[in-house]
Symmetry: C2
Subunit: 320 residues, 2 copies
C-alpha cells in the first residue's frame, strides 16, 4: 500500500468520503507510521461533535437501540458516526457480528459512518484506539458520534470518560443483577433507557429506576441533573425520539452548568494518560526488553520480588 | 489498625491460618505501605503451587464447577485456594455475589481458602492485584490455586498469562456465539469442559469441540498437546474427577516438555510489566500531575494533539 497523503485524506474525510474516513481510522487504529501526522492534522479540527456513550448489560438491545437512534438523528438531518466497541473477547466477539448486521439499513446512507472497533493491548478497554477514531469522526464533521460498548467488564465505565452524555440501557426482567448493581449504574448514567418496554415487567423496571434516582437525590451532592428514564421499543422506534430529546436536554444542561468543558477536559486527559502509558509500555518491549527478560527470570526463580524488579525496570527506562 | 508484623503474618499464613492469609492478600490488594515488604518476604517461598485458570461465557456454571473441583481436589488431600475475579462491572458485580454463596459448602474447611478479587485500576483485568494474591496463596503452601474469571472482556485472555493449565468451560446450547468464537477459545484452552452434559445438545457440543480440536492439529504447529474434552454435570459431581485427571495429565505434559518453566516465566514477566506500568501511572498522577493537567487542557482546546502531549509528559517523567 502506498504511503497515504494525510492532508488529502483529511480533506476528503471532511467531504464525508467514507473511504477516506475509514482509511484515517485505520491509520490511527493500527498505530501506523503516519499516526502522529494524522493526530496533528486532526487536532485543530476537533471539539465540535457531540459524543454519546451507550452501554448496558447483554440482551437489552444495544445494537437495535443504536440503530434506532441513528434513524431518529438522521431524520433531524444530523450526520452520525457510530463506533461499536467489541472487547477482544473470544466469547462476545462472535455474537456481536450478528448484531452488526442489524445496522446494515444505514449502510447506504452517506450521512452515517459505522465502525466496529476491536479493543486491544494491555491497557484494554477504550483507552487506546477508540478515542483516536472518535477524533477522526469529529474532525470529519460528524455532528454526533455514538460510542456503543457491550457493557461488560471495564468498557461501560471507560465509555463515561469519553462521552458528553452516557445512556445506560436496561430491559425488563433483568432481575437481581440489576438490583445489586444499582449504585454502579447510577454513577455512570446521564439518561436511563428501558428498552423492550412492551414486555412484562417494564413498568416495574421504570418504577424501580425512578425510586433509585429519587433516593440518590438526597444522597448525592453537587449535581442538579436529574436522570430521566425513557421507555422505548427500539425495534418499532417507539420512544426513540424521546431519547434524542433527553440527550439534547442533557447537552443543554452541560453547557449551562459549564460541565461540557469539564467532560471534554476529562476525555483529553484520559487520552493523554493512555498514550503516555502505551509509549512507556512500548519502551519496555523495545529498549527495555533485555532488562525485562532478565528481571522476569529472576522473579520466576523466586530470587527477587516483582516490585523490586519493576522498580529497577522503571529506573532503567528513566535513565535511558 | 496497627502496623502488621509481616514476618509473623507470613509464618501464620504458612500454618494455614485463614485470617493471616486474608490479611496478607488485603495488604497486597490495597497497595498498603507494607506491600513491598510483603512481596519481598513471599518471593523465596513461591513457585510450588499449581495454578489452574477457569473461564467461560456466562451461564455455563463456572462457580458450581469451581466448587466441584475444590471438592474433588480436597478428596485427594490437596489444599486449595480459590481466587474469583469479578471485573469491576456495575452489571456483573451483583450477579456474582449470588454465585459466591454456592461456595459456602467449603467455608468451614481449613484446607480451602476462597477470595473474591475485585479488578480495578486503569490497567484492568487481572494484571494488578490477582497475581499478588496468588503469590500469597502459593507462599502459604496451598497445593492448587484456582483462578476463576467471569469470561467476558479481557479477563479470560489474561487468566492464560497466570495459569499453568487453563480450563475453558462451555455448556450445551450456547449457540452461534461459541461457533463464531471457535478460534479464540481454541487458543486459550488447555482442557475443555462441557458442563451441564445431561442437557439436550451436549453430545453435539462435545462433537463440535472434537472436530475443532482435530482440525486445529493440522493447522497449529509447535505443540503436541491435544486438548481433552471432558463432559461434566458439576452440580452432581459427574465427571469432575475426570477434569482433575485431565489437569494432572496436562501438568505432566508441561513438565515433560519444559513448558512449565516457560509458563511461569511468562507469568512473572506479565507481573513485572504490569507493576512497572502502574508505577509510571502513579507518577503521572503525582509528580507529573501539573504537566498532565496543563497538557490535557491544551489537547482539549485543540492546540496540540494527544500524542505530542503524551511525548512531552513521558519526557518530563524520564527527566525527573
Amino acid at each position: 500500500m502506498t504511503v497515504p497523503d494525510v492532508a488529502d485524506l483529511v480533506d476528503r474525510a471532511r467531504r464525508y468520503e467514507p473511504r477516506a474516513v475509514a482509511r484515517l481510522i485505520s491509520l490511527v487504529e493500527d498505530a501506523s507510521p503516519q499516526l502522529r501526522e494524522v493526530a496533528a492534522a486532526l487536532a485543530p479540527l476537533t471539539g465540535r461533535a457531540q459524543v454519546i456513550g451507550l452501554t448496558g448489560p447483554p440482551g437489552v438491545g444495544k445494537s437495535t437501540s443504536t440503530s434506532a437512534l441513528v434513524t431518529s438523528l438522521r431524520a433531524q438531518g444530523k450526520r452520525v458516526g457510530v463506533l461499536a466497541v467489541d472487547p477482544s473477547s473470544p466469547f462476545s466477539g462472535g455474537a456481536l457480528l450478528g448484531d452488526r448486521i442489524r445496522m446494515q439499513q444505514h449502510a447506504t446512507d452517506p450521512g452515517v459512518f459505522i465502525r466496529s472497533m476491536a479493543t486491544r493491548g494491555h491497557l484494554g478497554g477504550l483507552s487506546w484506539a477508540t478515542p483516536q477514531a472518535l477524533r477522526v469522526l469529529d474532525a470529519a464533521g460528524f455532528d454526533v458520534v455514538l460510542v456503543e460498548t457491550v457493557g461488560v467488564g471495564q468498557s461501560e465505565v471507560d465509555v463515561v470518560s469519553l462521552a458528553d452524555t452516557t445512556i445506560v440501557l436496561l430491559a425488563p426482567g433483568m432481575g437481581d443483577g440489576i438490583q445489586a448493581a444499582k449504585a454502579g449504574i447510577l454513577e455512570i448514567a446521564d439518561v436511563f433507557v428501558v428498552n423492550k418496554a412492551d414486555r412484562d415487567g417494564a413498568e416495574a423496571t421504570v418504577r424501580d429506576l425512578k425510586n433509585m434516582v429519587a433516593m440518590s437525590r438526597r444522597g448525592v451532592a453537587g449535581s442538579s441533573w436529574r436522570q430521566p428514564i425513557v421507555p422505548t421499543v427500539a425495534s418499532t422506534m417507539d420512544g426513540v425520539d424521546d431519547v434524542v430529546k433527553a440527550i439534547e436536554t442533557h447537552h443543554q444542561w452541560l453547557v449551562e452548568h459549564d460541565e461540557l468543558g469539564q467532560r471534554r477536559y476529562r476525555r483529553a486527559r484520559a487520552e493523554v494518560e493512555a498514550i503516555a502509558l502505551e509509549s512507556v509500555r512500548a519502551k519496555l518491549g523495545g529498549p527495555g526488553e533485555d532488562a525485562l527478560r532478565r528481571l522476569s527470570e529472576r522473579v520466576s526463580a523466586g530470587e527477587i520480588d516483582p516490585y523490586t524488579a519493576a522498580d529497577r525496570l522503571v529506573e532503567g527506562i528513566s535513565g535511558g
